[in-house]
């Protein structure tokens, strides 16, 4: 099991990465024009009130000192207090993380469920009508932005057919998943087009490749050639592509959560940005960044599990 030794070593490499991410998000958030105190006070803002709020949240300190306090808080497991919600940012995030996590997971699974059969179909008919149809559809998929796709799905499934809810999130597990079907489908349709292209290309190469020829030469039927040899070998590059697309996926949840009014992190982030709630924005950005690092780490583990040649 020495193959998996990197699982122990890798987390240490995360520390400098996370440090860099925290500096960048911290500074970038403060570069956004506007003042949280002014937004919070709205029409009631007076110079004195603004100064009081700024002092209360430490915004009157120099930026490096603010960052130092931020790190100090982080060491105690705190991310500061939300200016808008008046509660600890970490607590706020924990209440919002579940819908987003479920949404991402469902989207990835759904996109694989869509991509694998379609890519197989296209690759096996390489150049045939099925291949052209799949390529045509997936090219369209790339062209449709998720927010438009989300609206079309709502109009068709929720308004016309009335089979799925228009928006919101449920209470029970079944109800929650039921509410997530359309949002996941929105993201999965976009993501699967990328996966289909990658998988199809890899499969066509593998189908013509030496491994498949050798399998045919020992009399394996096409189904075994495909499922036992072509498919696993084609999945290796696709898993990495999926990991690279996680950043894009998170961007997708922000849009989709807003459209479907899902109480997740994406929606939280959008509101926080509008109200210049610095603490929340940098907290959510940190969580998203950590998630991206973590997903790539998981992808590495999966790659090692599928491909014994990879040594980390």
């Amino acid at each position: 099991m020495h193959r998996y030794k990197f699982v122990l070593h890798r987390p240490l490499q995360f520390l400098p990465v996370l440090f860099g991410i925290s500096v960048i998000t911290f500074v970038l958030v403060r570069l956004i024009p506007g003042d949280p105190a002014r937004v919070l006070l709205g029409t009631k803002s007076t110079p004195a009130a603004i100064a009081a709020i700024r002092a209360q949240y430490g915004l009157d300190q120099p930026i490096w000192l603010q960052y130092f306090y931020f790190l100090q808080n982080l060491a105690h497991g705190e991310m500061g207090k939300s200016i808008l919600y008046k509660i600890d940012v970490l607590k706020l995030i924990t209440t919002r993380i579940e819908p987003t996590l479920t949404l991402v997971l469902c989207s990835v699974l759904l996109s694989l469920v869509i991509a694998m059969p379609l890519a197989s179909l296209a690759a096996r008919s390489n150049g045939g009508p099925a291949d052209h149809a799949v390529r045509f559809v997936s090219t369209f998929g790339i062209g449709f932005p998720p927010f438009w796709l989300a609206l079309m799905l709502i109009i068709f499934f929720s308004v016309r057919l009335d089979v799925f809810p228009v928006s919101g999130y449920g209470e029970t597990v079944v109800d929650k998943l039921y509410h997530l079907i359309l949002p996941s489908l929105t993201i999965a349709l976009s993501l699967s087009t990328v996966l289909i292209r990658s998988l199809r290309t890899a499969m066509i190469a593998e189908l013509k490749g030496d491994v498949a020829t050798a399998a045919r030469a020992r009399g394996m039927p096409e189904s075994i050639v495909f499922w036992r040899h072509v498919m696993p070998n084609s999945l290796v590059p696709t898993v990495n592509l999926l990991a690279v697309n996680v950043g894009w996926l998170i961007g997708g949840t922000v849009v989709v959560e807003s459209v479907f009014a899902l109480p997740g992190m994406g929606q939280l982030l959008v509101r926080a940005i509008f109200s210049r709630d610095y603490m929340v924005v940098q907290g959510v950005a940190m969580v998203f960044a950590c998630a991206t690092v973590l997903v790539n780490f998981l992808a590495d583990i999966v790659t090692v599990a599928i491909d014994p040649r990879v040594k980390q």
Partner: protein
């Protein structure tokens, strides 16, 4: 030969190209007897691989089709049986092994499972029983620890063991015929000898019939019963190996035999007229106690300091101006690393390399400038070494312009001269590599090397990828150039016979060290080291009556069969 097992009659294969159909295999007929090894010989493009693929209808492209003829096995014509029937024939009656086991074994699957797969599908047994059979087969093809090695992945084994695994896969369903497509071309000579021995043993123990495709007449002479010579899809000659090799009928076969770089008779102390090197001459290249080490990847935070792999360990060598030195050794012996270090392409860990008085370590800038102006390299794969988008003329002009050795207006003239030197028509200046043959490309590669006006040319396995007749032509070209231009040539090769034909002095490398060096004839006729002897013995001789010396025991064999590669870098 009594009743043939497999009988091919008037087989034709046609390629439906864009500019009309092309016949790639033209009315081929031959028989294969039970327990017979038939050698299919021919150069690249002769259709020998395609013939064998056609026997089991594994066409490499959908544009290829069998247009006429029959392939009879057990009274059935394999060209007309159903798809399901031919699938039963593949693996069950006819097994196949390939030139490159690395690309043909599934990298994600344990080798034992790849053998068991066929057993499960063809015999319909459960996985436990299939595993037992697979373990037995692993032992038969020479895996010393089947139970442990069953779980190994292809990349964990050396090239020779991978080919054994491939043979195991092909034999999993007990076929009567084995088609071996250049099974040893990618292997070192000593490993090649072991694999050929294994094939012959399997023929004995299983009564297997083998069709052996090869370009090496030495291999056919040593292993086959009969030989079929193919050229451009036609069968030129077929017969008993002694008849074909001893009294070749067709001029092409005669040429093929003449081109074979076979070892001349081993004479006791062969006297070769050799020009004594003037004692006062300063060596052009001086290598002194050279070490080259590479860091081994996989360095972790907890595994201590960086680990290193020593590719060259303490080599000292002098090359005089005008000398031709051959460096031979198996893959991983450090011969290419030595050449790269000498040209300043690989960092030197320890020791000194001096080129024409300039030390690469202490006077790096000066030495590198000198090296780039006065040395050139010729590479193994001529297609990959030439820019496919540039014409040969543009490639040569580029070198001439950078070197500024000839004035701009004289460049076209110089290109013409260079092409003359390497024996290419001047019209090749406007051709691109992909429209040329391998031999023509290699000539262009040599012309590019000569464009520098080099004092030293390093040729790294530069004929390994070429057909024998072309090999012979390129070696002749080198010999000719050496004399006309007073070149110093460092010729790296794994093929001892070619080195013997071309080089005055030979250096034998093993595991990063020089084990033996001296005048070529002395080394080959009376090798002092057991390793050199083993290398020479492993070369299949074209004379069938000089049997292949069975591979030595000792360390090399032990290393090969121990199963796991030690991380050698070639």
């Amino acid at each position: 030969m009594s009743e043939p097992l497999l009988s091919v009659r008037d087989l034709s294969v046609v390629f439906a190209g864009e500019d009309g159909p092309r016949t790639l295999i033209d009315s081929l007929s031959f028989d294969l007897g039970k327990g017979e090894i038939l050698g299919l010989v021919g150069e690249s493009g002769s259709g020998k691989s395609l013939t064998c693929r056609s026997l089991v209808r594994l066409m490499p492209s959908p544009k290829l089709a069998i247009t006429s003829g029959t392939v009879m096995l057990d009274g059935k014509d394999l060209t007309t049986v159903s798809e399901a029937d031919i699938r039963e024939v593949r693996g069950r009656d006819i097994g196949m092994i390939f030139q490159n086991p690395t690309s043909h074994l599934d990298p994600l699957m344990r080798i034992g499972d790849q053998i068991a797969e066929g057993i499960r599908v063809h015999r319909g047994v459960d996985s436990k029983e299939a595993r037992a059979v697979a373990l037995d087969i692993l032992a038969q093809v020479g895996f010393p620890h089947p139970a442990r090695q069953y779980n190994g992945y292809p990349h964990e084994f050396s090239g020779g063991m991978r080919q054994r695994a491939m043979i195991g896969v092909a034999l999993s369903c007990d076929p009567r015929i084995l088609i071996a497509d250049e099974p040893t071309t990618a292997l070192d000579v000593t490993i090649q000898a072991q694999i050929l021995r294994l094939l012959m043993d399997l023929r004995e123990s299983r009564g297997l019939s083998v069709i052996l495709i090869t370009h090496d007449l030495g291999i056919v002479a040593q292993t086959c019963d009969r030989i079929a010579v193919l050229r451009q899809g036609r069968l030129l000659e077929i017969g008993d190996k002694r008849d074909v090799l001893g009294r070749p009928q067709h001029p092409y076969t005669q040429n093929l035999i003449a081109s074979h770089p076979s070892m001349p008779e081993r004479q006791a102390l062969a006297v070769i007229a050799q020009e004594p090197v003037p004692l006062k001459a300063r060596p052009l290249v001086e290598i002194d106690d050279l070490h080259v080490r590479f860091p081994v990847t996989g360095r972790g935070l907890f595994s201590g300091g960086p680990r290193e792999f020593a590719a060259v360990k303490g080599v000292s060598l002098q090359v005089m101006p005008g000398e031709t030195v051959g460096i031979v050794g198996e893959s991983g012996s450090g011969k290419s690393t030595l050449a790269r270090a000498l040209l300043g392409l690989t960092p030197i860990s320890e020791g000194h390399v001096t080129f024409d008085g300039a030390d690469i370590v202490t006077e790096r800038t000066k030495a590198l400038r000198k090296l780039r102006r006065e040395t050139a390299m010729v590479f193994q794969d001529p297609y990959n070494a030439l820019n496919p988008r540039l014409t040969i003329g543009a490639t040569l002009a580029e070198v001439l312009a950078v070197q500024e050795s000839v004035p701009k207006e004289r460049i076209p003239e110089r290109i013409g001269e260079l092409l003359d030197l390497v024996g290419l028509e001047r019209e090749f200046a406007s051709r691109k590599p992909l429209s040329m043959s391998g031999g023509q490309c290699q000539r262009a590669g040599i012309a590019r090397a000569l464009a520098v006006n080099p004092k030293l040319i390093v040729a790294d396995e530069c004929v390994a990828a070429l057909d024998v007749t072309i090999q012979a032509q390129i070696v002749d070209l080198f010999r000719d150039l050496k004399q006309r231009l007073n070149l110093t040539l460092l010729f790296i090769a794994h093929d001892l016979a070619i080195v013997r034909n071309l080089c005055e002095r030979v250096v034998v490398m093993y595991h990063g060290q020089i084990v033996e060096e001296g005048p070529t004839e002395d080394v080959f006729s009376a090798p002092r080291e057991a390793y050199t002897q083993a290398l020479i013995d492993a070369i299949p001789d074209i004379d069938p009556d000089k049997p292949l010396v069975s591979p030595r025991g000792g360390d090399a064999l032990a290393e090969e069969t121990s199963g796991l590669v030690t991380g050698e870098i070639s």
